[in-house]
């Protein structure tokens, strides 16, 4: 590779970091830049619920210090949002009005909180937990809260309910079985989930969705259930999984559906643009369709593989996602799925 190669990775999660490390290992000379609109250093997402209840501090979430990026000559640009990608010019525009040129680009932008369309009318009153910025807001709100209502859920919601209970909060979980993320809950799994939540002291309501309104009242909120009944709480949290952060790609010419569409070598339709992790929809030649994956392990594996492909070492993705869902003691086994719930 020429020494003036500039590999740019957008995303500071497991896929992005794994890709950056692999690139550095395989190409010691290249210029590598990792850009993320999040301000936090790479952190353990599974510890976020603990953080929200004050069980740990930001430094306990950090996976690697800034120093390690400096040592590996990986330019880390945090809190910097890519506004626009122009593949024809191999150019990125950042929100603070700066151009960044790349020779190869990896999109590992992950996902942000999924919000339900029928919650749009009261979305401002719902707390989400997609990233550390969300977590800070939740943590601040949690300090004054004693009663919480959780709507959803998803992979992280059960961990959150557990930590909230440990912190002495009263938790009501309004279960949206058909909208559970990433896959709808079948009867059997729903029972397991309910049982687990009950064992934590969480009150589960499986016939109370969809909530039709949330409005502020006094220091807290009042929810309206489908039957018109009202419920008071201090805080309402929305856990419906995530959607890929690909809005900034509109107009770029990069093909997207729910995520970035990539082939079996993680290449997008645009030259030298790749995608991996939660934001990618990967083509399966045997299925003749795109599949998605979630989870930390998958993201890491894809990041590494994408980096290898970027360097010309063709490696085809394993169609068997390595992860099975482990949701706070409830296991959901699945090999792959075609789309998010």
């Amino acid at each position: 590779m020429p020494k003036d190669d500039h590999y740019v990775i957008i995303g500071n999660g497991p896929a992005g970091n794994s890709a950056a490390d692999t690139l550095r290992k395989e190409d010691p000379e290249a210029k590598i830049t990792l850009i993320s609109d999040e301000k936090s250093l790479y952190y353990y997402k599974h510890r976020v619920p603990l953080y929200t209840v004050g069980g740990c501090e930001p430094e306990d979430l950090s996976i690697r210090p800034y120093r390690s990026y400096l040592e590996n000559r990986i330019r880390l640009r945090l809190g910097q949002r890519v506004e626009k990608v122009v593949p024809a010019e191999k150019l990125l525009y950042l929100n603070h009005m700066e151009k960044v040129h790349y020779t190869k680009l990896i999109l590992a932008v992950g996902a942000s909180a999924r919000r339900l369309p029928n919650h749009a009318g009261f979305a401002d009153h719902l707390y989400c937990l997609a990233g550390l910025d969300d977590a800070r807001r939740v943590r601040k709100a949690m300090m004054a809260a004693s009663r919480l209502v959780v709507l959803g859920g998803d992979l992280i919601s059960m961990g959150f309910a557990r930590e909230a209970r440990k912190a002495g909060k009263e938790v009501v979980f309004i279960l949206y079985s058909s909208l559970f993320w990433p896959v709808s809950l079948k009867e059997e799994i729903q029972q397991s989930v309910t049982k687990r939540l009950n064992s934590l002291g969480v009150k589960v309501m499986s016939d109370a969705e969809p909530v039709t309104d949330v409005r502020p009242e006094g220091e807290g909120y009042t929810l309206t259930l489908p039957d018109g009944e009202e419920m008071s709480t201090d805080l309402v949290l929305s856990f419906f999984g995530s959607v890929p952060n690909i809005r900034f790609l509109v107009g770029s010419g990069i093909n997207t559906e729910k995520g970035v569409l990539v082939d079996h070598l993680m290449r997008s339709n645009q030259e030298d643009v790749y995608a991996c992790g939660d934001c990618a929809q990967i083509y399966n030649p045997e299925l003749k369709d795109y599949w998605v994956s979630v989870g930390w392990g998958n993201a890491e594996a894809q990041g590494e593989l994408t980096a290898m492909n970027l360097l010309g070492r063709e490696k085809v993705i394993d169609y068997q996602p390595k992860e099975i869902f482990e949701m706070d003691g409830v296991t959901i086994r699945t090999s792959w799925w075609k789309t998010f719930a």
Partner: protein, 589 residues
């Protein structure tokens, strides 16, 4: 509830962008509110162009003696220049930048792109808001101040009132556009920015200043002291960083009957001063390194002819024209030893703005009484550093008239250079009956007539040096701070670096170290006994100064006669307490 506040703010822009004036508005405002301020400006030597300007100031509720080495808040009016200041921004510092520059920055040219994790970057559309407020970009600096006021808890109405006072006398449109720019910056920030950093002035516990205060920098203090001391002639040639003294005196010296002359060069300026001194008028010149070099022969003449003269040298980086707008303390050797022959001259180096006033008053007194040139060593930082100080008490009549006149009977056979025990030969002034004498740069006898024999030369040289022993009793004592008795580390410093040394000692003491500092505003004659006494109680001696060779360390080495550790910096910046703490932190055992 905030009580103690200590925040270092830096504004960085290009020449002509109002960087320094924004810094001045902020420092004078904060000072007027009762904060302790230490400020330092850095700007290019070119009058206008694209050079980097930095206004650096520290505002604190506590007593502060030195500019902070590390910046808490960096305001970037020009990204390209401000990027070079990022290395001094604290890891959790705040960056304020223009989020809507006229064109998109090329890669790596945006300061926001270099903000490190842990720093908080606030993008403010400074240019856009300035255009909106005043129809041009001039108000970007005031927009930035508006953002600062909003982010760090400064009441907007207090700042607008201050701006009105500060710009009083200017056209109403100028005042209005400055205030509009400020308010727009404030309101936009209030509406669009969510504060994420820990810094604030809100709730700061400021001790209301007692007595009458005045805000001034080192140059202003020198000029004011000179006028209060009866200055009758200022002769000078403009040079950074001393020009401000001339500017002030050009406006005000005439009010008290004095004269300001801008001469054709520094040789002439010094000649004017020696001439006025000879005639019995208090006179002064102010210059910097290159000008001081030119004045050398005239200073020598004043030594030999025993004529009072006050010469201010505000040091900058050297040699030659060197670094006109950078800080250095590297003219000490030239000041003390720059004369040919055995050419003693008094050298003072004030430590801060208050000391600038006191030392300048003393300089006139000593110069006149002891008939000698007195060099006052300022520096770039001290000249420009703004402080809120107690209004200085003007010198009394004795200080303002210190010439030792001969007794009437001595005029029967007047010996202008009479050998005396004190070394002071009573002096007549031109026009005094029976007081005529010959004065020359040649070696002379007691009547002033040229005599070249060795015996006379020895007697006269001894006399000239004897004055320096005599004056010791009238010179200010050394100041020692920190732990009393035996200490592990003793820090000697001079001039404006002394504040950093004292502050470093205070911080180290808080951590349990046995440490002390030594400062004397008198460089020459050396305070030998005080130096020796301090040395005796220190296990390790450090000399901290801003030059390459350790000029003060070299000067005092024969007195101390022991090993000293030298902290010598030539970064173009003033000494900070952190510099000293980091240096002594490297000591083992």
């Amino acid at each position: 509830m905030t009580t103690s506040v200590d925040i270092v703010i830096e504004i960085c822009g290009s020449a002509g962008e109002g960087t320094i004036s924004a810094g001045e508005v902020m420092t004078r405002f904060m000072s007027s509110k009762g904060y302790e301020i230490v400020s330092f400006d850095s700007f290019p030597s070119e009058i206008r162009g694209f050079g980097k300007c930095v206004a650096h100031f520290r505002a604190s509720t506590e007593t502060v003696l030195a500019p902070g080495k590390y910046t808490d808040v960096l305001i970037a009016l020009n990204d390209a220049h401000a990027i070079t200041q990022l290395s001094g921004l604290r890891k959790n510092g705040v960056l304020i930048y223009d989020s809507k520059p006229p064109v998109c920055h090329e890669e790596d040219r945006s300061i926001a792109g270099w903000a490190e994790p842990g720093m908080t970057a606030y993008g403010i559309p400074m240019l856009e808001l300035a255009n909106k407020a005043a129809g041009n970009a001039k108000g970007r600096n005031m927009v930035a101040i508006g953002a600062v006021a909003c982010l760090f808890g400064i009441a907007p109405e207090e700042m607008t009132a201050f701006i009105e006072r500060r710009f009083k006398g200017k056209k109403p449109k100028i005042i209005e556009s400055n205030i509009d720019s400020f308010l727009l910056g404030y309101e936009w920030t209030k509406t669009h920015v969510s504060k994420e950093d820990p810094y604030t002035f809100k709730g700061a516990e400021i001790v209301p200043p007692e007595g009458e205060k005045t805000i001034m920098n080192g140059n202003e203090a020198v000029a004011m002291a000179a006028m209060d001391s009866g200055l009758r002639l200022y002769a000078g040639y403009p040079i950074t960083p001393a020009t401000k003294i001339m500017e002030i005196l050009s406006k005000r010296l005439g009010e008290s009957g004095g004269v300001m002359i801008q001469t054709e060069d520094e040789i002439s300026a010094a000649g004017n001063v020696v001439g006025a001194g000879f005639s019995g008028k208090r006179a002064m010149t102010a210059t910097s390194g290159p000008g001081f070099a030119l004045m050398g022969e005239m200073i020598n003449l004043a030594v030999m002819a025993e004529v009072p003269a006050v010469i201010v040298n505000s040091q900058r980086g050297g040699p030659s024209t060197g670094l006109p707008t950078k800080m250095e303390q590297s003219d000490l050797s030239a000041a003390v030893n720059g004369g040919t022959g055995d050419s003693p001259r008094v050298v003072f180096a004030p430590r801060d703005v208050v000391d600038c006033y006191a030392i300048t008053c003393l300089a006139f007194y000593i110069a006149e009484k002891y008939q000698t040139p007195v060099v006052i060593l300022l520096d770039f930082y001290l000249s420009n550093s703004i402080r809120n100080i107690d209004k200085p008490v003007p010198p009394d009549a004795e200080m303002c008239s210190s010439n030792v006149f001969p007794a009437d009977e001595a005029l029967d056979d007047y010996e202008r250079f009479k050998i005396t025990e004190s070394g002071i030969s009573p002096r007549t002034l031109p026009g005094m009956p029976f007081g005529m004498f010959v004065d020359t740069g040649l070696e002379h006898n007691t009547y002033g007539k040229p005599v070249y024999d060795g015996e006379n030369h020895l007697v006269m040289t001894e006399k000239r040096y004897r004055k320096f022993h005599t004056m010791q009793a009238e010179l200010p004592p050394a100041v020692e701070t920190g732990t009393e008795g035996e200490v592990e580390i003793g820090i000697l410093s001079w001039g404006s670096s002394s504040g950093a040394a004292e502050e470093a000692v205070r911080k180290a003491q808080e951590k349990g170290q046995r440490i002390a500092s030594f400062h004397c505003s008198v460089i020459y004659p050396l305070p030998e006994e005080a130096l020796k006494a301090f040395s005796r109680r220190c296990r390790i001696l450090v000399v901290a100064e801003l030059n390459y060779t350790g000029q003060y360390a070299n000067l005092i080495a024969p007195v101390l006669n022991r090993e000293v550790r030298r902290l010598t910096l030539i970064t173009g910046l003033p000494m900070a307490s952190e510099d000293i703490l980091e240096f002594i932190g490297t000591f083992k055992g």
